[in-house]
């Protein structure tokens, strides 16, 4: 067993395999960054909509809240299949990468909007009152007062979610996107030991996730200590 793995290791890391794995790793990272980046922007929009006051906006608020509640209650794999078949029905030529990224984005919107909301709500109400007494519009209050004060609350959990989204993208291999997990399956099918291949893939995921985990933890500590002064 060990002997077989020892024999395979040099072959696994020969030029073409290594490039294949690195490319797959890039795909995983790119998918996550684009999906989460867009998700974060749209999550911001969702929060803005659901905090819009006034009777007129009730339907919009309901839609925003429902979206968040629903998409946090469906497994990513199911979201992925729904997006896959829905998009293939309307646009048969869409690439699998696009489909996967949209799936990640739709999930990310729901989760990041909750972090953003918690961040906004952490800003004392009096700060907002002071702004409105000085004639700040809602948007100006958000940009000048709320957002700058809430990002220490938003950023650390955003890193934690980023890590969890990276891990969730492993499921994207199910619809055939050639990312890390799929690459592992390919190598396994080429006859490499599963222990060796999936062990390597695990380590590659770890290399993507762990720095982000540490960075998030570091920022959390820094923000917490700067608040104590």
């Amino acid at each position: 067993m060990l002997e077989r793995m020892a024999n395979e290791i040099p072959r696994l890391f020969e030029y073409y395999s290594a490039i294949f794995l690195l490319k797959a790793m890039g795909t995983t990272l790119l998918m996550t960054l684009v999906g989460v980046g867009l998700g974060f922007l749209l999550g911001f929009v969702i929060v803005y909509l659901r905090q819009t006051p006034g009777l007129f906006w009730v339907p919009v608020r309901i839609v925003a809240i429902t979206y968040v509640e629903i998409f946090r209650r469906i497994p990513f794999l199911v979201i992925l299949y729904l997006v896959l078949f829905f998009i293939q029905a309307i646009s048969p030529n869409a690439s699998l990468f696009t489909i996967a990224t949209i799936g990640i984005c739709m999930m990310a919107i729901a989760y990041t909007s909750e972090i953003i909301r918690a961040g906004f709500e952490s800003v004392p109400r009096q700060q907002i009152e002071a702004a409105s007494a000085m004639n700040f519009s809602r948007w100006k209050t958000l940009i000048n007062v709320i957002a700058p004060q809430s990002w220490p609350v938003i950023v650390p959990p955003a890193f934690a979610y980023m890590v969890s989204f990276i891990k969730d993208t492993a499921l994207v291999s199910q619809i055939g996107v050639v990312e890390l997990t799929f690459a592992g399956k390919v190598m396994n099918n080429r006859g490499y030991s599963a222990l060796l291949v999936y062990g390597t893939i695990l380590i590659l995921y770890f290399l993507l996730s762990y720095p982000l985990t540490r960075l998030g933890g570091y920022l959390e500590k820094r923000f917490a200590s700067s608040k104590d002064n």
Partner: protein
């Protein structure tokens, strides 16, 4: 024409009536003080004036213009004319002193940055903080923060300044510096409505003192009249409690 004319103003918070039929006029250059037990509606009155708490009835006229608190543009007008300073200062924590004082004139009133900054420096000098321009609120004492808050309100060039218990959150040794700042404003002719528990200060600075209780005005007059010869039992009881120590 009165500078500010409040007629039969009422407000309710849910089912609790917090302001009932309040009528009051303020003339240019006058300093009016609101006194009374906590929960008597003094702060609510100021909050209604700047549109932070909606009124349920009555009218407010500023320099002859009627303010409609159901209309956003009309509330904007009231906030253009009146600036409020809060008990807890409410400085923007993410901005330095200069930023706090200049943001509204620059970003909201779209005035020239250089001009606003020069004015802000003058204002901060007047409140004795010329050396703290780049400090952040959490690096300042409560008294300093409150003086920045006053400068921030003045930077809006209001016709009327509303001061809501501006010394109540301060340690006793910091109260004087803030009161001195307000004294200077009064002698410069600033029109002000002051809510305060500093009775000695109120007596000294006010042109008129208004006593409120349970959302109504129960007595008004010159400081000496109100403090020395209150006509209602409620007022006598209140001053008796406060002035005894």
């Amino acid at each position: 024409m009165h500078h500010l004319k409040i007629t039969n103003l009422s407000s309710a918070y849910g089912k609790n009536v917090v302001l009932t039929d309040v009528s009051l006029t303020v003339d240019k250059g006058q300093v009016i003080s609101l006194v009374g037990p906590s929960g008597s509606g003094k702060s609510t009155l100021l909050r209604v004036l700047v549109g932070l708490t909606p009124p349920t009835g009555g009218t407010v006229e500023i320099q002859g213009e009627l303010i409609n608190y159901n209309s956003k543009s009309s509330i904007k007008l009231s906030r253009d004319r009146m600036a409020i300073v809060f008990q807890q200062y409410n400085l923007f924590q993410n901005m330095d002193v200069m930023g706090n004082v200049t943001i509204a004139p620059i970003k909201i009133k779209k005035r020239d940055r250089k001009e606003v900054e020069a004015e802000a420096e003058d204002l901060l000098e007047r409140v004795g903080l010329a050396d703290k321009l780049t400090a952040y609120p959490d690096q300042l004492s409560g008294g300093q923060q409150q003086r920045v808050a006053i400068a921030r309100a003045l930077a809006l060039q209001p016709d009327l300044l509303l001061l809501d218990e501006v010394t109540s959150a301060l340690d006793p040794e910091l109260v004087t510096e803030v009161l001195d700042t307000i004294r200077r404003l009064a002698s410069d002719g600033m029109t002000m409505i002051i809510v305060s528990h500093e009775m000695g200060f109120v007596r000294e600075i006010s042109d008129q003192v208004v006593m409120m209780d349970e959302g109504r005005i129960i007595e008004r007059g010159l400081p000496a009249e109100i403090f020395d010869k209150p006509t209602t039992d409620r007022a006598r009881e209140f001053f008796g409690k406060i002035l005894r120590h």
